[in-house]
Symmetry: C2
Subunit: 212 residues, 2 copies
């Protein structure tokens, strides 16, 4: 005979409560994926009535879209911060591949994959996905172009190369999502192997990226 333990949620500032809901949605997404971000799951996580979440958000499609956006934007900011101190484009690129393919961010990968699927039925989300992809592309493009300018890389179409890089990274991560426990896919070696492909794309000598 256990009744719901919640009596009544403490009254908070709209700004506070809104942030709380946003954070809860992000946590649910990171832990269980975008499909688990529901009116009730978000409400339960902050011990509040489902109607309150609905009160603060225009609709669930919007909350899911914004949740995707903040998670992915945060990821990009983290990676950018990680690469910033590195002196050369070559080192930044090597570090980028390393950190994105080490399996540490599987929770974010799930969100990407789910977003590609969900985007077909959630236009707000689809738009956010395109926006975040553009941001990531711009980031990669910056690295590639600075490398070309420094004479480290060689390509006649940096923008296209940047898209290819992004596609490779996402594809390999999506695969790892399903086969993470598989030794034959050689998780530890993914970065190095992709490095060889990238060396090919950028006209770098073999090992220049994966080596020291």
């Amino acid at each position: 005979m256990s009744r719901p333990v919640r009596k009544k949620a403490a009254r908070k500032t709209p700004a506070e409560r809104s942030a709380e809901i946003t954070d809860a949605a992000r946590d649910v997404a990171l832990e269980q994926g975008l499909y688990a971000v529901t009116l009730r799951s978000v409400a339960a996580r902050i011990d509040v009535a489902p109607a309150l979440v609905a009160h603060y958000e225009p609709n669930m499609d919007a909350l899911i879209a914004s949740t995707f956006g903040t998670v992915v934007a945060t990821e990009l900011a983290e990676v950018a911060a990680l690469l910033a101190p590195l002196p050369t484009p070559r080192e930044r690129l090597a570090q980028l591949l390393d950190t994105l393919l080490d399996g540490t961010r599987a929770d974010v990968t799930v969100i990407w994959v789910e977003a590609w699927a969900m985007g077909r039925r959630n236009e707000a989300l689809a738009q956010r996905v395109r926006d975040e992809m553009d941001d990531w592309h711009a980031f990669l493009l910056g690295i590639v172009e600075s490398g070309v300018a420094a004479g480290e890389f060689e390509t006649d179409d940096a923008a296209s190369v940047a898209w290819q890089l992004l596609g490779m990274i996402d594809g390999l991560n999506a695969h790892a999502l399903v086969r993470w426990a598989d030794s034959s896919s050689d998780l530890g070696d993914r970065g190095a192997r992709l490095g060889q492909a990238v060396e090919g794309m950028l006209g770098i000598a073999r090992g220049a990226l994966t080596g020291p």
Copy 2:
């Protein structure tokens, strides 16, 4: 006042009806994705009561898993048949990249992406996904190894290269899913650009794959 037009479905052989259901599920998946494969959508497509579909399938998770399997296995068979007549591994690889990246199979790409996401909540599907990935990997591995044997390719880890190839293809296709109307991603050029990366991975001279 339009009542349902269906009076009573013609009685059919279990084998016939079962095949009909299987086909309907496949069609729904190709047209609207795996998430649209529901008891009712499949039943409606062949003008039959939802309970009949439930009668023929153990449960929807199983039907979705087997639907994924047949769609993807068919795709592999088609591609294999397309490459079979080509004389050299280099030509087969070039053709493979070409046909898989020309945007013709977006419907199958949707199914792949949805399967990666759904697999986390549908163990039967997850197993099928791994199986089909293994089949694709084996297929690519065959091409790579024959190329190495013929002296056209050069690598010390063909299995790993095959996984990388698969990951790249899937990632680029997933991206195209969201940005199909985008000219900046240069759909037509995807194959050629990936070709350069692959040339790098396999130690082929630039242009040997993308050229004539």
